[in-house]
């Protein structure tokens, strides 16, 4: 489990040279059979739940009601015009079965109807993968990336002749990359990154390509599929569509089956287990379990279908993305505060709802960002065990173990949903721990944390909501206090680092003055109101305390605030 501490310097060669040999390409070529399997799996699960005509018929009516509502009251640009025709037909059919008195016949008709709906959903969700689109994208993107990242504002001319290799100077990719590459040849890799920004998806996509892994399949909000050519482009790159407005059980079951079957078929997948972006700016510790559970399910089904030697193994790889600057920080933290309740924070709605806006933002971000780090954690199996370079599982007491054992009851491999739900929670906990241990402290995070703790201490009587309403011009942090605080935190951080509970960026080893200087230069620099700014020679203040809070939260969960209690 050797870890390459040095960030990669160049793009690595693909582990499988021919894109036509990639699992995702094969899956795409076999799309109809794949969908058939997905639908059958979904049906098995929902008909077990809705085991009589009454239950199934009620569900169908419920779906129809919600879908009609969606089309009228929650209409999005991405909704296709033929959808209302489809649902009108379903309505007609439901009314017909309403009249059938024979329970058996009614159940049979309703099953057919459910099948039709599932098929409709499945074709909406399904991703494609076109090696040609991928090839073109792959040629263009790095060029765009490197040029944009070099062209800081006011330096537009460099845009033209910036050299390509500098991209990995700004985008630092670290972790056990060789091991991950090896494992991708032996089994199915599931990458689970932290989620702070809409830019995480394109960034992680680019990063995975940079380390030479075959393309991943991933879920993307259907709201991003508005502009036709972008929609096709995303779809051709392996994105499947998720519609968060659809909350009916069959739809959710279908998504889970989709993911489980794709994993079983060896398609490397990308989940954002935090669900939506972290609104508080803190690392996720309560992870969404739905899709994560499909990894465990897929692993068990592989073991049921094949012998242990030939069953594909599923590997989980947590990834932490660290930015000095999150473009959407302001609207995210406002949403966080309004969800937390207590205060009526008025905020402009986060309007990044279309793919075009996201791409625009992405370009802006790349030109603006002072750099970022992407740290891969050590891979695990679906039970959260460490794995060695050959993919063998090593349990918490250092024994080489067979994962089949975890699914055996009295020597028989069986399906037990409750057991798997406990395993899913355990896995989520392990991922959260890895998020914290792979988190890389940037100078700006340390600075923001120290500054916010000082402000908190200056206003001990206020709760967090009151604190965030203190007028910014009343806030003043002396440089000496800041230095003292940073030194105090740094000691604890070094301790955490030697316990492998966190990672520190290079700047943290500099002297305190340099950390402050580097942090101030980089912390959320492109916000119109800065989280921290020099007031005079000896004092620092904030122009937006909520932003300072957001960036400070990045170091939540390490009990560092106790240093100031």
């Amino acid at each position: 489990m050797a870890e390459s501490q040095q960030p990669i310097k160049n793009r690595l060669a693909y582990t499988i040279a021919d894109p036509y040999e990639w699992p995702i390409t094969k899956l795409s070529a076999d799309k109809e059979l794949f969908l058939k399997e997905v639908i059958e799996k979904t049906e098995a699960s929902i008909f077990e739940r809705m085991h009589n005509a009454q239950l199934l018929h009620d569900e169908l009516k419920g779906i129809l009601y919600k879908e009609k509502n969606r089309l009228t009251k929650q209409h999005w640009k991405s909704d296709k015009p033929e959808e209302s025709i489809f649902w009108s037909e379903i309505k007609k059919k439901i009314l017909e079965t309403d009249k059938i008195e024979n329970e058996e016949e009614k159940y049979k008709k309703d099953k057919k109807l459910m099948h039709k709906i599932l098929k409709h959903y499945a074709h909406e969700i399904v991703a494609n993968f076109d090696p040609k689109t991928h090839k073109i994208t792959r040629k263009i993107l790095p060029w765009v990336f490197s040029r944009l990242m070099n062209a800081s504002p006011g330096n537009r001319l460099r845009f033209l002749w910036a050299s390509r290799k500098t991209i990995y100077e700004k985008l630092k990719i670290t972790g056990p990359i060789e091991q991950i590459r090896e494992l991708s040849k032996k089994g199915t890799v599931i990458v689970v990154p932290t989620h702070f920004s809409n830019l995480d998806s394109p960034t992680i996509g680019f990063v995975l390509d940079s380390i030479g892994l075959p393309a991943f399949t991933y879920g993307a909000g259907i709201n991003l599929f508005t502009v036709k050519f972008i929609s096709k482009w995303m779809n051709d790159l392996g994105a499947y569509k998720l519609d968060r407005r659809k909350k009916n059980i069959p739809y959710l079951e279908l998504l889970k089956s989709y993911s489980a079957v794709a994993i079983q078929r060896g398609a490397h997948s990308l989940f954002f287990p935090g669900g939506t972006r972290s609104k508080s700016g803190a690392l996720e510790d309560k992870l969404k379990l739905g899709l994560l559970g499909t990894a465990i399910e897929a692993q068990r089904e592989n073991l049921q279908k094949y012998t242990e030697e030939s069953a594909k193994k599923v590997f989980i790889v947590p990834v932490v993305l660290n930015y000095h600057f999150v473009m959407e920080a302001e609207s995210l933290v406002n949403q966080h505060l309004s969800i937390m309740g207590k205060e009526q924070f008025i905020y402009s709605k986060n309007n990044l709802s279309t793919s075009f806006k996201v791409i625009k933002l992405f370009f802006k971000f790349l030109t603006a960002t002072p750099g970022m780090t992407v740290s891969f954690a050590e891979p695990m199996d679906v039970l959260g065990n460490e794995v060695d370079n050959d993919g063998n599982s090593i349990n918490s007491v250092g024994q080489k173990v067979s994962i089949k054992d975890y699914f055996l009851l009295n020597e028989e491999l069986n399906e037990d949903k409750q057991r798997e739900s406990v395993y899913t929670r355990r896995l989520a906990d392990k991922i959260a721990v890895k998020f914290h241990s792979s988190n890389t402290v940037l100078s700006s995070h340390l600075l923001a944390f120290a500054a916010f703790e000082i402000v908190k201490n200056q206003n001990k009587m206020l709760d967090i909501y009151e604190l965030l309403r203190v007028p910014e011009d009343e806030i003043s942090i002396s440089k000496n206090d800041l230095k003292e605080a940073i030194e105090k935190i740094k000691l604890k951080l070094l301790e955490l680092e030697s316990d492998k509970k966190i990672k520190l960026s290079k700047q943290i080893n500099d002297n305190t003055d340099s950390i402050i200087k580097h942090g101030l230069k980089n912390l959320g620099v492109y916000h119109s109101k800065l989280p921290l700014i020099k007031k005079d020679k000896h004092t620092i203040t904030t122009q937006n305390i909520k932003l300072l809070y957001f960036y400070h939260n990045r170091l939540e969960g390490y009990k560092l605030d106790k240093l100031f209690a």
Binding site: L383, N395, S396, V397, Q399, V401, S402, I403, D405, Y406, L408, L409, N410, E411, D416, Q418, R419, V422, R426
Partner: protein
């Protein structure tokens, strides 16, 4: 003899281990792991610890073959030896094993003493100890008012099996249930374990009350307030009160506080006679879990719970406080709202 499908394992041939083995033997074949030659000899001769040995029980001291033959294993040994037992069994235990322990004690990695301050992270229940030291993941515990001597007499009783995994509860129920034992289930594993542990020191206190010669009023006061105190401690450590109101909580408390047969109760009686801990240790083959429990509670200093009964008991055992002074102190302790642990 009918054909038996399952082989259940029991680790530890103390009186409770033997009783559990006898219960299991009604539903399957049982392998009983014992270390001492004398115990093995006794069991082979069909009487051990004043109990007849069921014909379905086989005794063994071969760990490897024991682990190969049993998928469902019940460790029933004192908390002080639990860790060492796990070290011995670790090489042969796999993730396919299910372990349901019946040990009402805690494990601490540090030495205990007057000035020791413990964090809750360094205090382990037996299930946590199993998870930490072996590759087993499916763990559970068995707890409740199960005095070995009464189980041996085949008197009716109830017990609870707690685990995060429903299959562990199901398997445990299948293995244990009979016309004389009702087996309940719970997903509150840590709560049930803690309820079983915390009742130990209340039982010592009940022994003291009985030893002085006080009657039922005093004992009832002690039991209810002891339960309240246990709940305050559990809540401060992050658990809820549910398990304490069930079989493993109030059920076990009533049984142990009333039974002169219980080891904890006996310690209390000796203390009432003015014996010191060292003297008590001379009289008993194993020291009651409750002594260690009060020491641990004493060391969990930073969790802000009030535990007057445990505090006073600690001072009786370790600081030579006289029983009379202790009682006076307790009776003067300010009262709070009754049953304030239920919200």
């Amino acid at each position: 003899m009918t054909k038996l499908q399952e082989t259940y394992g029991v680790i530890g041939a103390g009186s409770f281990g033997t009783a559990v083995a006898n219960l299991l033997a009604e539903n399957g074949r049982v392998l009983l792991y014992a270390r001492s030659k004398k115990a093995i000899e006794n069991i082979k001769n069909n009487t051990h610890r004043n109990q007849d040995i069921h014909e379905n029980i086989e005794v063994t001291n071969d760990i490897e073959s024991f682990c190969k033959q049993c998928n469902l294993i019940f460790p029933v040994i004192p908390s002080d030896s639990f860790r060492y037992m796990l070290d011995d069994f670790k090489p042969y235990l796999k993730a396919s094993h299910i372990l349901i322990h019946a040990t009402k004690g805690l494990h601490v990695e540090h030495n205990l003493g007057e000035d020791v301050v413990l964090k809750k992270e360094s205090v382990y229940t037996m299930s946590e100890l199993i998870l930490k030291n072996t590759g087993v993941v499916r763990v559970g515990c068995m707890a409740g008012p199960n005095l070995a001597s009464e189980l041996a007499l085949k008197q009716p009783a109830a017990t609870v099996i707690a685990s995060q995994f429903n299959e562990v509860i199901d398997e445990g129920q299948k293995a244990l249930k009979s016309t004389r034992l009702r087996v309940y289930g719970s997903n509150e594993l840590r709560g049930v374990e803690l309820a079983g542990v915390l009742k130990n020191y209340v039982a010592i206190s009940a022994g003291i009350i009985a030893g002085i010669g006080y009657g039922e009023n005093s004992k009832a006061m002690l039991i209810t307030r002891g339960m309240a105190e246990s709940i305050y401690i559990a809540k401060a450590l992050g658990y809820n009160e549910k398990a304490f109101l069930g079989i493993a909580g109030v059920g076990d408390l009533i049984a142990t506080c009333n039974s002169p047969k219980s080891r904890n109760n006996t310690v209390g009686r000796y203390l009432a006679e003015g014996k010191t801990l060292a003297e008590i240790k001379e009289n008993m083959s194993e020291v009651a879990e409750g002594v260690k429990t009060v020491q641990i509670i004493h060391s969990l200093k930073n969790y802000g719970f009030k535990s007057p009964i445990a505090d006073i008991l600690y001072r009786i055992i370790f600081n030579d406080l006289s029983v009379e002074n202790a009682l006076e102190f307790l009776m003067r302790f300010p009262t709070s709202e009754d049953a304030d642990y239920i919200s």
